[in-house]
Amino acid sequence: MMDDTGIGIWGVPLAIFAGAIRVSTPFIFVSLGETITERSGRINLGLEGTLVFGAMTAYAVAVMSGSAWLGVLAAMGTGAVLGLIHGWICKWPKVNDIAIGIAMMQFGLGLAFFLGKPFIKPVAPHLPSIPLGTWSAMPQIQAALNINVLFILGALLAVVLWWAFKNTRIGLVLRVVGDSTDAARAMGINPDRVRLLATAVGGSLAAVGGAYLSLYYPGSWNEGISSGQGLMAVALVIFARWNPIGCFLAALLFGGAGALGPALQSVGVTQGYYLFYAAPYVLTLAILIATSSPTRSLSGAPGALSLTK
């Protein structure tokens, strides 16, 4: 036991809370991006590549320009380009969007590792955080409440998207295209164009998740920067039932589950340490099994999504 922390066993929930916020931020952006793409009826399995490429771009631009926010913007740009490539290729007949996603993932990873080699050593400026824990004298609480700006932006974005899907014309168009390609055509909407833009926006958000990894936590660029956050996005979105608020909560849950292992280890629990890393995946699989059915598609799923047919 680490009694010298002064809060003893209470360190565990505090560490999980802080860890959940720290770990969940990339999940929030990646899953919100994937939600936008999937709501338009297309699935982008390549967000892992987009995320890592975004992490590299953000870090490289931050190193060269000295501005972390410029890095985030650059990452959004490259993420959108990768999304556009995915979206453009998938509009052609007979092209499998799931397979293209895997291919784009490999492409994005390869390109990021290739171009990112010179940036492993230099140090980039970090993104700022807001200290909300100054009221407390305890350094643990101060550290836990030192909330990064991207987390707050992600939470706001989730609410805005949730509202926009329901209440704006763009949200309606996106949902029509996602639910029925034919209905969209009948309304005079070009489904390919909507999906192209939705994939581009999804890619740019996923790249923000990557920028968080390289510019805030862990805050450096290397080839092992991502532990599969981009791949998990697809599972997260199913978990969250294509609902942006749900994505935010699911990201927190996944972040918390990921933080459980290290938090327990810090108070001396070392048994089954690695199994805690599997907790989010087991959870998602269990929920998929419990809620799927061979005779109907998942509730809340966009009708035109190839994934749920």
């Binding site: 994005g108 590792f113 340490y273 699989l285």
Partner: protein, 383 residues
Amino acid sequence: MTVEANNPAISLSSVPERSMLGPVLEWLARRAEPIVISLGAILIGLALFSLFIMAVGKSPAVLFQLMYTGGFGSWFSVQNSLSRSAPLLLTALCVALPARLGLTIIGGEGAVVLGGVAAAAAALPFVGTLPPFLVLILMAAAAMVVGGLWIGFAGFLRHYRGVNETISSLLLAYIAIALMNQFVEGPLRDPASLNKPSTTPLPAEYMLGKIPGMDVHWGLAIGIVACIISWVLIEVTSYGFAARIAGGNVRAAQIQGLPVGRLIVGFTAIAGSFAGLAGMIEVAAVQGSANASLAAGYGYTGILVAFLARHNPLAIIPVAILLGGIDASGGLIQRRMGLPDATVLVLQGTLFVVILFCETFYGRFKIFNPDLWKRPGLFERKA
């Protein structure tokens, strides 16, 4: 070939004597389409990659030359490439077999990793008591059972619970890697492995040896045999025929009374057992013990191999060797050209994207339409 019966308009103007050229060209047109489109896609991919290499200020010609030298330029490099292709043969089958049933399994990595752990665990109690040959068979059996159960579970969930197999197999892969870490760092850990937790290493005489006359382990032969068996299974047996029907149209297969559920579970289990075998070979022929190196991405490269081979088990053999060669040349490119080792990844990714994109060209070129060459009188007219 009763074209006349199908098309009354032709039967009226009937041209009974047909040249032999027609059927030959018809056959050629049918066969040439996948070959021409695949080669065209590879050329486009290489061209795009060359542009990229030129953009970073290097010569693509030098690079391709080095790639050839590093992959296939000498007997040494050929053997290196062949060794690297062995796991890819098996993990590609893990994607290709379910793909013929219309399933996209991308979690072969999980079966590789757990197969390796199962093989190492199965060997532990028998090393020293049983002869090496029997221990190796036990290891292979354990790896195949575990791998088969792992991917078969994804197939089971697909058919009986309606869970998307792409997602479930991916999740299972992550769970498998966590399980492997748990086993390797916990109950199966060799106390002597300090920096890199591993299981107790196999004694040298229990390792899977080399193919006589080559510096390539038996994994290559096992992989090639697995590809041939899979080809026979799919193309020759009635199970394979049923699977292809189910892959084309599930409803039609069910109406025909085919046991779609059992086919899906059976094929995914066979696919998983091949990936598990890849893990066993990695342990018994390369690493000597199960450790984190098992998750080296063979499962993911296997996806690329399977798609390049268009899920044809025989085509997997040359494609896997080609990719093994590209992989083997990475070090040489790094040393001679000062390019990062990820150059190979960029090439693989580019090829993968372009080849999948070129799927859209199937059926677009009239010249590949067999019916074009069926038209009677096509060659008689000029004569």
